[in-house]
Amino acid sequence: MPLLLFVPVALIAACGLIYELIAGTLASYLLGDSVFQFSTVIGSYLFAMGVGSYLSRYIARGLVARFVSIELMVALVGGFSSAALFLAFAYTQGFRLILYALVMIIGVLVGLEIPLLMRILKSRLEFKELVAHVLTFDYLGALAASLLFPILLVPKLGMVRSAVLFGMINAAVALWSMFLFREQLGARVLLRAASVLVLATLGVGMAGAERITEAADNSLYADEVIFARDTRYQRLVLTKWKDDVRLFLNAHLQFSSRDEYRYHEALVHPGLASLAGARRVLVLGGGDGLAVREILKYPTVESITLVDLDPDMTRLFSTHVYLSTLNQHSLTNPRVHVINADAFPWLDQNTGSFDFVVVDFPDPTSYSLGKLYTTAFYRLLARHLSAQGLVVVQGTSPLFARQSYWCIVETLKQAGLRTYPYHVYVPSFGEWGFVLASLAPYEAPMRLPAGLRFLSVHDVPELFRFPNDMLPVDAEPNRLNDQVLVRYYERDWREIAH
């Protein structure tokens, strides 16, 4: 009998802790700076629990009915807290306000639970027994929750469903209490109906978790969304699955932390390592700082200018604990100058020449982006290139978007540059293409910086060999007034999709 009384204590303790963990985790995922987020979430949550405990003195009669209704409220608010936070982040400017409001509401409600429960139980047990048992089960529940959350819940269920599951547990506790204390409670049809309704709502919420997260873009991404923001320029989404973090810009994959080193080593080193003593480097796009991380491996490089449109992107990759570790704090390196500007007008309005230029723009999915792949753009780029300088252009997949890739090569040629196309296999992307372009002839490097994970000197010439299914095909050059590339690209990928 005592066990039946005290299991609900453990359960509600677990629920309370889970909501707190969810709020803390979401806040650090979405806003970064996890120490600050966890501290403030835990602090305000505990404070709210204190408020709840204090308020419990004002509840005089009908303790069981009040307890049951509080459970139902926690079930609803806590159960949907995760979904609410995702949606709030995606659709409102007031995420922090909603976060702390939710934390306070749940905290107050949870703070009411234990004092009320102890008062309900006080007639059944001696005071010292009561305190000992309630607190023991309370802490046991907390332990169970804190272990389950990272090991089982987040990886298996995800944030939205974990919250809903624990909401259902709160509702079950409500039902269980109604059964246990039926003599004290009497026949409360309304309360019973409410419990069933809450449980059903949460059940629907569980089944529709996919739908809920779809609204927050989750459905697009296979993994848990840990960060999503509509910046002035794009929708920026980070997902995480175990140790794999992926960045999506407008739903297009930019990198996976598991294999991005292949992409970025291949992007930078075949070109930069072949230049003896390159001093001035320009990176267009690449606000993730990963190409810059590779460029910083060259001591001769005196200055790296990174031009990326989106200040939110470069700020995120400068300050976010995980992301700035991934790029080895490249964006805050004193050799690096971050400029938030649109690349084409920036090049047009600035003089200055560079020994090595990395052009790492999103794929030409629209005519606006397609401007950055035109003869006019490459001609302008050539004017910013030192005599021995090299440009490397990310050029989509020569396998999946074959004509698009060779169109980019042709466009560089039309702009008066020599071209050296190459490709590399990046598991999360598939076969990926790059083009080196220059005014002077290019020769593969004799040595590479130490410590590369993927590339070695004797492998570099291999990259320039194309197997039969990626060999050149005819393509028109892409011009500002006739952007064939955008049409090629759309057709190439549509064929893949079928």
């Binding site: 409102t92 306000l97 649109d342």
Partner: protein, 521 residues
Amino acid sequence: MSRAADTGARGSLETVRPRARTGRWTRRNFLGFALIGLAPKTQRAIIGGFADDGHGPGHALRDHSQFPSARRTMKIPVVIVGGGIAGLSAAWRLDKRGFRDFVLLEMHGQAGGNARWGENEITAYPWAAHYVPVPGKTTALVRELFEELGVLRNGVWDDRYLCFSPQERLFLHGRWQEGIEPAVGSTARDREDFSRFGDCIRQFRATGEFTIPMDLGAKPSQLDRLSIAAWLRQERFTSRYLYWYINYACRDDYGALAGDTSAWAGIHYFASRDPEEKGPLTWPEGNGWISRKLLAKLEHYVRTGTMAHRIRREGNRLQVSAGDTDYLADFVIFAAPSFLASHLSDDAPAIPNFVYSPWLTANITLDRLPRAQGMETAWDNVIYDSPALGYVVATHQSLRTHEDRSVWTFYWSLAEGPPAANRRLLLEYDWDWWKAAILADLERAHPDIRNCVSRIDILRLGHAMARPVVGFLESQERRNLINSRGNLLFANADLSGFSIFEEAQYRGIQAAERVLARLGR
């Protein structure tokens, strides 16, 4: 099918009524939502007004009002009346030939005529004409000008000035499609008609009769004796999409319905051009860019805000009264719209059969861009079955990949109904009425447009362009103006029957050449 040609522009002025505002936010619920950052963008005030359209001084001229008498007289060999493209081109030619004894009188505060422009904190924008098709090899004068202005270098067109992709889109069946030829929901019959029409145009082009400037190829033609709509029927075209498309082209280029446009002129629109490069040429301020460049060279000849109000014969000379000066000129090049001449001079022929189309253009400043379904924003954006002509994006030639703000130039040729009645409407309705009509039209394609627009500036052009009505090609009035032998020479594009840059430039230069020849230069 007999009235098919008229279906394209079904919405007359009267159907585009301003719509009452709905949806109100109380202060309290606004504050409540604002606190948590959930407030939707509320309806905002849109400001603006009518731009200087010069109808005040114009009507004073028509009504033979009293003008102050001149305080000085000035002898000058040549006076050019009108500072649009025709007048500026005449000046450009005279100057280029080393002839410098002339003035150009422009009634507006800003020269340029239909190639005027404006500018705000976002971008420069056109007030009317906004492009020039890439000239073919035979359009030598336009090429000469563009070489001088650096648009054409060593046979290569500067790609900053060639219209960027995507050039055109059409809002049809609830979404934007690429290109203006309607494709969404087209049947095999539609496609067959479009393809056959294309074949006809190729045959017409091969005749060499349809040239730019039109003077070089035009000869008496049966095609001038029926409308383009009648010709389509005669050739047994039935596609509703094709009729819409041709009607749109006529409204867009001539300010006229297909049922009013000469078939010769309608075909000329399609058959006269065979560009060597995908165009057209365009600039943020439209053809204002050309005006600007020409004015930079010719500034010291130009007297803006100076309306010629009287041209009187004085012996062998012509006395042109404008502002505080009487100019005694050997020759007057009349580059303003030709119908004005008879208000100024008793010698000038009346040309009652010249028809002029009234237009309205509006520059719409958007401080945020509206949402849209389908294809991304193009340079020219047309709404199917709208009474207006759509809008052109002034920031389209920007090198940026991302725009937060823009200016759209909205075009509306009042083609349906008698031009004189439409001119009256143009003046009768106030700015609020036109603002509401413009927004109601755009709202079909952009439901949230009202939340994006911060100002609308409207230009009313009572006589925007000559209309190539049935019979214009062989009209005696047109011939008389072209061949006028006195020292009053006509130079407006209306001599060609339609108002396009190439014709205006050609007529201006022709007049200049004739003056130079008669002056023995």
